[in-house]
């Protein structure tokens, strides 16, 4: 049993070495930050462009992680888990996009102002919850525990936001500042992890392929 657990731990370490580069923290942090900044501008629909950070992630992974960690094909069980993870996130992002679209349509129509306030408030809470659930899912699928902390941070920021509401700040801007704060913390956390990763895995220029 212990032997099985140790091999599992070894496999988990090999897996996390691929994601312990801080790039996921920075990418999701940038996404949340862009979302928050978009909310503070007049053109709130620009928040929909925040997903473009995936291009940053793909490019950074290729130029930073792969030359340092190398290539690996994980066990069939892990590959199955990766497929399940992809399916889950496709479904998750589709639902998120439809929720956003639903709120956008609801708020764009000529509904009474009082109802608009309620729908707007619901949209903000829904997106806070979506970010918390999304971060916890990243923590679960990628087996990186610090993402649970980021999820908790959004919850703490949401609770702190309740106090800020008391001081007369509009809920919309309070939520935007929450996202800006969380995004910034994630980016900073990611940069620290990235610095540690670069130190642990220096880039090896040629000469590493010397078998045979």
């Amino acid at each position: 049993m212990t032997q099985e657990m140790n091999l599992k731990e070894l496999e988990r370490k090999a897996w996390t070495s691929y994601f312990d580069d801080g790039l996921l923290d920075i990418t999701i942090g940038l996404f949340i930050l862009a979302f928050g900044i978009g909310m503070t501008t007049r053109y709130t629909y620009l928040t929909a462009l925040a997903w473009m950070v995936v291009f940053f992630f793909a490019a950074a992974k290729k130029s930073i992680t792969l030359p340092r960690v190398g290539l690996v094909k994980f066990s069939p069980e892990r590959e199955e888990r990766i497929r399940n993870e992809r399916t889950f996130f496709v479904v998750f992002f589709t639902i998120t996009a439809f929720v956003g679209l639903g709120f956008f349509i609801a708020l764009s129509t000529g509904i009474p102002r009082s109802l608009k306030t309620i729908v707007g408030g619901l949209a903000l809470v829904a997106y806070e919850l979506i970010f918390v659930i999304g971060l916890c899912c990243v923590a679960y699928w990628k087996q990186i525990r610090r993402f649970y902390v980021y999820g908790a941070l959004i919850l703490v920021a949401a609770l702190a936001g309740l106090f800020l509401n008391v001081f007369g700040l509009h809920q919309f801007f309070v939520t935007a500042y929450q996202f800006i704060t969380t995004g910034t913390v994630m980016i900073l956390g990611g940069l620290v992890v990235l610095a540690r990763f670069l130190k642990r895995y220096p880039k090896r220029e040629g000469g590493v392929d010397v078998v045979g």
Partner: protein, 110 residues
């Protein structure tokens, strides 16, 4: 020497000495938990130097435990490593043997 003690010693003599060496054990364990990996991946995971890793992989390849595939990515050579069926079976047998020996030694002690 009792018959039981002789059996215990027989288990120890059945240990595959090629895998028992710590560096090769680390390589085998890493390759056992995945399907395949390149040379670069194994370097930090095993903590070996380039020369050492290369030397041990050649030994494991000669024994038929590791399959080494060479390919070119652009102009750079790229080595993909994976355990052979025999290597996988031998490593599984090795950990079962070791577990049995440790269990027997622990039970004799208590």
């Amino acid at each position: 020497m009792s018959l039981d003690e002789r059996d215990n010693l027989q288990h120890i003599s059945e240990i595959d000495k090629l895998i028992h060496e710590p560096s090769r054990l680390a390589i085998m364990a890493q390759l056992y938990i995945i399907q395949s990996a390149d040379f670069l991946f194994l370097l930090p995971q095993t903590g070996l130097t380039t020369g050492n890793l290369s030397r041990h992989i050649i030994k494991l390849e000669k024994a038929g435990y590791v399959k080494v595939e060479k390919e070119f990515v652009g102009k750079k050579p790229h080595t993909i490593l994976q355990l052979t069926k025999e290597g996988r079976a031998v490593f599984k047998n090795y950990i079962e043997n070791m577990k049995q020996i440790i269990d027997e030694l622990s039970s004799n002690k208590s």
